[in-house]
Amino acid sequence: MQTHQYDVVIVGAGGAGMRAALESSKEARTAVISKLYPTRSHTGAAQGGMAAALANVEDDNWEWHTFDTVKGGDYLVDQDAAEILAKEAIESVLDLERMGLPFNRTPEGKIDQRRFGGHTRDHGQSAVRRACYAADRTGHMILQTLYQNCVKQDVEFFNEFYVLDLITDHDLTTEEIADGEEVNATGVVAYDLATGEIHVFQAKAIIFATGGAGKIFKTTSNAHTLTGDGMALAYRRGLPLEDMEFFQFHPTGLAGLGILLSEAARGEGGILRNSEGERFMERYAPTIKDLAPRDIVARSMANEVREGRGAGPNKDYVLLDLTHLEPAHIDAKLPDITEFARTYLGIEPYTEPVPVYPTAHYAMGGVPTNIKGEVLRDGVNVVKGLYAAGEVACVSVHGSNRLGTNSLLDINVFGKRSGRAAAEYSKTASFHELPEDPTVRVVAQLDEMRNRPEGERVADIRKALQDTMDLNAQVFRTGDSLNEALADIRGLQKRYRNASVQDKGKLFNTDLLEAIELGFLLDIAEVTVVAAINRKESRGGHYREDYPNRDDAHYMLHTMAYRRPPEASDQAEGHVEGYFDHVEEFDGYKVVLGSKPVIQTRYEPMERKY
């Protein structure tokens, strides 16, 4: 075991983690721990753009952006956070440009901007050009630029280190913490993939920037490595997860594969058609059509297929038509995604429409934070020294449905904020004592998995999980389908206790780490489904066919899900009789749901029409 001490430890080296590192490493001794080489992070797969009301190509302002974000999130957005997002967007884009990001340019040489779903002028009048972009590899350029600047600033990285536990000075899973009493995050335990050694990082401040959990689904745009590690670690340590029922299904995944084709394809003029060649979005969103927010487009597509107007031999997808666009325009603005269609489906987008279907894309929910990035341990109190930013976090700027281009924005705005806040905090904070052996849980878990002579294959359990999530908790959900998923997850949690790995070695044992990651996936699926069962309304990315309407009277609240021991109280903070009072018993623990108010500043909830 090796022990390290840093003022600030950042877990994850995607956009949020590296943006935080650029701030914190200027002010405090900082380490970034990442399970991947930084440039492998999934920020690099983001394509279309980063929203900011620069007004470089047409009239725009941050207030319109705020409104679009709130409405896009079906009013479950915390409006103070959305306002920060939209205001600080402008400086965030300029920061990146000054760091060297090669944005596409207007003829005058300014940062060019294009249209994207749900971004409108003057509160929904028409689509607006707000997305700043670099061809269809904006995320790639952001990731590269941030890494380049980390190299410039000599940021210290621990690459291919998996963080497997969070250490706090109170056991939040069992202890009743008196209101106002301080709870501190004191360190993390990490596993070095190359050597199999355990490392303890003691820190004054810790930032979780571990990304999403798309691999709970089978059809997903997410990387194999997006297994919800940070969310699951927080959840296991007794911290709540917020709004986990809201998962975004991106409309245009390559059919059957889930590989993302950017919304920029529609921003540049692409049109969705059904088997009859009809531009069906005209029926669902008459004003902005194909550029409606993702939840609406994904549902419309799934509905076309359900009603028999799907294309292809099995009528199970719709078509993204770019054939009316000039090939030169496609090459200039959408080179990568057209290449994906050619490589993976053998389709030539110049002349043939591309088969597409919704793909699991983004977790709106996550570890709850306030606008400084501080992690909440209930509706009000923070864990001192613990921060989260990016997809792992829920601020909540995305509410129940994120607008395209707002995630690259989120990682930059809240990555920067959390980096600054953590460094600032570390200046006055001191190190807290670690428990006698902080590695005990991790070592036991790894040993148990490694030493179990034989058992079920990890891949079989994972496949069963992904199958049931795709079947029962996707674009359309019902109480029955979700209970089906829950029953499956319960069974899989049990089976997981008998899983084993074949690779018993110490060096670069990815077999072992995949098994550990499966544990994270099961926990995230569990909390996602329990929260979805409880929310008996349809809002944003969460669509209940048995409750097709939004119910502001009862559900205009954030879900807060806690894992608790069986003997703990059945009531969590924000308990609302009949609505946020759900308890689900599992083997050895239970999931208790509470709620948290939605912060509303300027915008009254309205019906969401586009």
Partner: protein, 250 residues
Amino acid sequence: MTATLDAPAPSGAIASFEVTLRIRRFNPEVSDEATWQDFTVEAHGTDRVLDALHKIKWDEDGSLTFRRSCAHGVCGSDAMRINGRNRLACKTLLKDVNPDKPIIVEPIKGLPVVKDLVVDMEPFFASYREIMPFLITSGNEPSKERYQSPEDRARFDDTTKCILCAACTSSCPVFWTDGQYFGPAAIVNAHRFIFDSRDEGGSQRLEILNDKEGVWRCRTTFNCTEACPRGIEVTKAIQEVKRAMITRAF
């Protein structure tokens, strides 16, 4: 416009088939020697080499070790040597590499092998860091963005695509025999900044690459250009850097 379009050819039209992967195995915990091992798996029309590797790892031999993440050619984790050519496993369709014969899968060359298909990437990233891969400017930062014409932006567009997968560098015969050579990827990333009109560090980078382990070692074999999964004209970029070194015009 609502013209009716013909449905495209259905995906997965190619029936499933059996494919054998002949994989270079190495595990220093077991033996100092690398060995070849054959695995035969069932594959489907659009399956990639990565899918076959996953099938082996998930259903047959969990100890088979390789890196991967995004699985669609943008993260750069899974560069490997497939039938003697450097490619990304996630971008190489099995049907395109003649699945009638065993497909040979080896780690990329020129970097120390850690285990099976995993190599130590540190020497590769060290070369990258040496060429100062970041924008260098002087004076006060502008209050808004720096302006750059679309033409100036286009000048270095090709080299901004690099995903640092090392397919180019590890396909270079010069790099195989001399691990000190900066290699194509580092030069590509130097090019990305040398030809960026906003950057003022071009001379410094050219000085670094004028080193005996710099651009002059390039023998223009075009392996790197062929290997690049992002379609970057790597050799051309290296030539442009060489020319800039002579003319000091960039």
